[in-house]
């Protein structure tokens, strides 16, 4: 039902934009960051993560307004919602969920297709340092934090680096509780 809901929202309740425009815009951002930071790719990774975080804390409002989904009971259902609804609605892709930890508090998303990295070939000096789609990690971190899940999100591998697949890891640190300000 999550899969059908995601597809239904994508088809009928989502305004769409040309994917090449999106891809080229993101590529321009990453390329410009590499120039601005003088090819210090660690800083570029951090900046992409920060940008993604700022997007994620806002994007979650849009996502919940579209889907009206209730709170997830555990990380398993969270992973299903992220993969089948969130990625489907925003990027029209459905990553595979794999590599669950023993405690069921960490999982991997395998991105078979990634519109951010279409037609991208990393320069040699960036191959070992730059996580090109690091904005996704920030988006997930920010969005999950707004639903009281403190998670670490990071890339394990990326086809742009020559790895066999693009794998993103999400690990729950703790469930946040709303606290009354002092």
């Amino acid at each position: 039902s999550l899969k059908h809901a995601g597809e239904d929202i994508w088809k009928n309740r989502t305004e769409k934009v040309n994917a090449e425009l999106f891809t080229l815009t993101y590529g321009a951002i990453v390329s410009q960051l590499c120039t601005d930071y003088e090819r210090n790719f660690q800083k570029v990774n951090e900046q992409l993560y920060s940008m993604g975080y700022n997007i994620g804390v806002r994007l979650i409002e849009d996502f919940l307004a579209r889907t009206a989904l209730p709170r997830c009971e555990n990380m398993v259902s969270t992973s299903e919602v992220v993969s089948k609804c969130a990625f489907k609605i925003f990027l029209n892709i459905t990553p595979q969920i794999t590599n669950w930890s023993h405690e069921k508090d960490a999982f991997s998303l395998i991105l078979v297709e990634n519109p951010l990295s279409d037609f991208v070939e990393l320069p040699m000096d960036a191959m070992k340092q730059l996580w090109y789609s690091n904005i996704l990690c920030g988006v997930l971190r920010g969005a999950l934090e707004m639903v009281q899940l403190d998670c670490d999100v990071w890339f394990i591998s990326d086809v742009l680096r020559g790895d066999p697949q693009t794998e993103l890891r999400i690990k729950l640190n703790k469930v946040l509780k709303d606290e009354i300000p002092i």
Binding site: G27, S31, D118, F119, V120, E121
Partner: protein, 174 residues
């Protein structure tokens, strides 16, 4: 043999390659251009750029006024996006039996090729094959452009690009 180059907007070579057939009809290995001619190829190609630019900016006398393009003459390349033939300029120049063909991308990059002939006679150009070669290389060039880390007019140094262009040359030209 052929000498192919992609010329940038500052008349700078973005990509260069020489194509030779591996085996002749009787099993003889064919050589490329003679050494003295090989050194002249960039100059011959450069000399044809003026003609190509003249064609590039020439208005099309066959376009009638009041047409769908908004009246008046169009440029050599039609505003009808479905018509890609106007990118291929056919034979634009010659040099002592060598033929020079050209192809213009929509962004103004020039694909130029010198066609040689081992028999020292005039070269016969198969327009269909040459056009198909240019169009496939154009597609490879667009893919190169899509890479955000590639700047327009920078040299194309990718070995993958080079191998694909040579494969297309073997398929269409030799």
């Amino acid at each position: 043999p052929q000498y192919f180059a992609i010329i940038g907007k500052r008349d700078n070579p973005v990509y260069e390659a020489e194509f030779t057939a591996q085996q002749g009809q009787q099993g003889q290995v064919q050589q490329g251009f003679p050494q003295n001619l090989k050194e002249l190829n960039p100059f011959i190609l450069h000399a044809s750029l003026d003609i190509i630019e003249d064609l590039q900016w020439k208005t099309n006398p066959n376009t009638q006024s009041g047409s769908n393009s908004g009246g008046g003459g169009g440029f050599l390349r039609s505003r009808n996006v479905a018509n890609v033939d106007n990118c291929y300029l056919c034979k634009v120049d010659h040099f002592y039996g060598l033929a020079v063909t050209a192809y213009l991308t929509y962004g103004g990059m020039k694909f130029v090729m010198i066609h040689g002939n081992m028999n020292n006679g005039d070269v016969q150009i198969d327009d269909n094959s040459v056009r198909a070669f240019y169009q496939e290389v154009h597609e490879l060039y667009i893919k190169t452009l899509m890479n955000p880390f590639y700047k327009i007019n920078d040299p194309i140094t990718s070995p993958a690009f080079d191998s694909r262009v040579r494969a297309l040359a073997r398929k269409y030209l030799n």
